[in-house]
Amino acid sequence: MKSGLWTVLGVTLAAGLASYLAAAPARASDPEQICDVPANLLSTDSSLRKVAEAVQNGQPLNVLVIGSRSSTIPSSEASAYPAKLQAALKESLPTTTVNLSVELQGAKTAGDTAETLVKLVETKRPTLVIWQTGTVDAIRSTDPDDFRSALDAGIGALQQAGTDVVLVNLQYSPRTESMISGSPYLDNMRVSAQEHDVPLFDRFAIMHHWNDAGDFDLFSSAHGVELAKRVHACLGRALSKFVIDAAHLGPAQQN
């Protein structure tokens, strides 16, 4: 009697597990990646005037992405979000030349990067600087006040140099959430962006949304490089839309 009960239990469990496992790959192999971003995550009160000017005057749009290692995918740089951003911008602004360069500063805190910004801007002369930061500071648990001053100094220097700035915050990384405390850095970036009237691309909230909505399973360790590529493709597209909206480039200018 007792063993019968266990058999029933075992069969039920096995059946449940099998159906679960069968369902998983079907979802993963879905070719069309859906990664909608709610409008409020892409809206900003701040605007990108230099970008708008350049596009309206038919000048080339020079974008400089400054970031740490989460701005690339190891050994597949062409699939990382900066490259995808360039492609999406080109598509949306067919009459504009879009140049994009990436300045990777691995293992550099916001303070380290802020010191290099002036020189970078002088050599590259960008219209728009996309500054992705916060992750290294969170890992090293830099004093949030120091992080904040570094942000203020960096954004100030960029604005002084006459470029538009977009901040990109941390990735949503559920696996390391119990090890890295991101919230002080996320908060400071939001506040600093608000204070300097700079659009903040909320990568954290967007990826969080994708994870919650089931677009991506960011918890899983099984996906390998494919997941990274798909996430970056979606991030690049969303960032392009964000930049175009913040520059108030309606459909009229885009054609």
């Binding site: 409020n40 809206s43 009160d45 740490s68 290692r69 989460s70 995918i73 190891p74 597949s76 691995g106 293992a107 992750t135 290294v136 890992i139 090293r140 648990s141 830099t142 004093d143 949030p144 904040r148 990735q171 990384s173 559920p174 696996r175 390391t176 959430e177 119990s178 090890m179 890295i180 405390s181 002080p184 908060d187 400071n188 939001r190 506040v191 608000q194 204070e195 969080h208 919650d212 089931g214 399973d217 960011l218 918890f219 899983s220 360790s221 996906h223 390998g224 490089v225 997941l227 990274a228 996430v231 970056h232």
Partner: protein, 416 residues
Amino acid sequence: MTSIADPISGTQIADAKDASGAVAAAPAITMPATSERELRLDLFRGLALWLIFIDHLPTNILTWFTIRNYGFSDATEIFIFISGYTAAFVYGRAMHQAGFVVATARILRRVWQIYVAHVFLFTIFLAEISYVATRFENPLYSEEMGIMDFLKQPDVTIVQALLLRFRPVNMDVLPLYIVLMLFLPLILWLMKWRTDITLALSVALYVLTWHFDLYLSAYPNGVWAFNPFAWQLLFVFGAWCALGGARRMSRILASPITLWICIAYLFAAFLVTLSWYLPQIGHIVPRRIEQWMYPINKTDLDVLRFAHFLALAAITVRILPKDWPGLKSPWLRPLILCGQHSLEIFCLGVFLAFAGHFILAEVSGGAGTHFLVSVTGIVIMCAMAWVISWYKHSADKGAARYKSAGGNADLAGGAV
């Protein structure tokens, strides 16, 4: 033996009550008039423990019920305040009856227990992080995995952890609690002399902390996530309330003006918090105020957070009288039990949060699984609190002694 080992969690109260008559006559410290266990304290400490647990888990539906989404302060403030209150209540009596040396000895024993609990949690954390480091390879997060670098130097890391300088995320509350308890003998000794001056000194230290930017450094860099120089204010304030301050404030607390100020402040804080989640309504907060207000500093217990806690507490005390019959209701029993065994349940909560993270990572479930993990965790916490309470009052050898104290065992949380 048992009564000394775990005084905060209740059994001590039974002993304390017997002596309260004698203590009440002593003029130096005004003990609370009634020596009944304040079930409201247990209730809200239990609530704080639940909320801390939920806040430590990845965001899920239940996260929307935690107070940090509706204002500036969160469960940590409740926990530290009530800890100060109960610690002063219990050890203040001990200091009266047995003197400074014995009370200090008891406090130090408690500190040691908390320290051991912290090290125990750190061990579990090490196991978890090592597992993730060896199994988890996701190119998307190659940068975030840099957090594992400390595993390359386990000798340094572990020593720093024992020195409380290396603390993983979510393990900041116990070190703060250890430092605060370490200074409790001094605080109580000063309070025995002059309660109000002690509170004034505490405020002064808080002000100096902000003025001179005092902090404790952490390893490998950064500072303590909860600055003890600032957070002592809540702890000492709790102690001050326990040693008669609350009673003296009752006139102020009962005034309708206080009530309306509190409601207005809580409402304003709610609107500000709402603007974090709904950027569309960001304009309701004037830019001027925004610039003055941000960032709201948790590390140094921002005065806005402290005020928010005060307002919450003032309203709570008002709408929830001490003799509210609901406190005896079986529905609130699990919360109260958790609050009565706070150290054990806190540690269990941190452990369950680790475990919850782990399960969520392994089964990669959706919102349903998240919810299930949270609820299961809370059920486990309650069950554990019940077991501990059963041990204390039925299984331990000294059980007979507590039973002889009549209704006291009930007050201490023994009757289930």
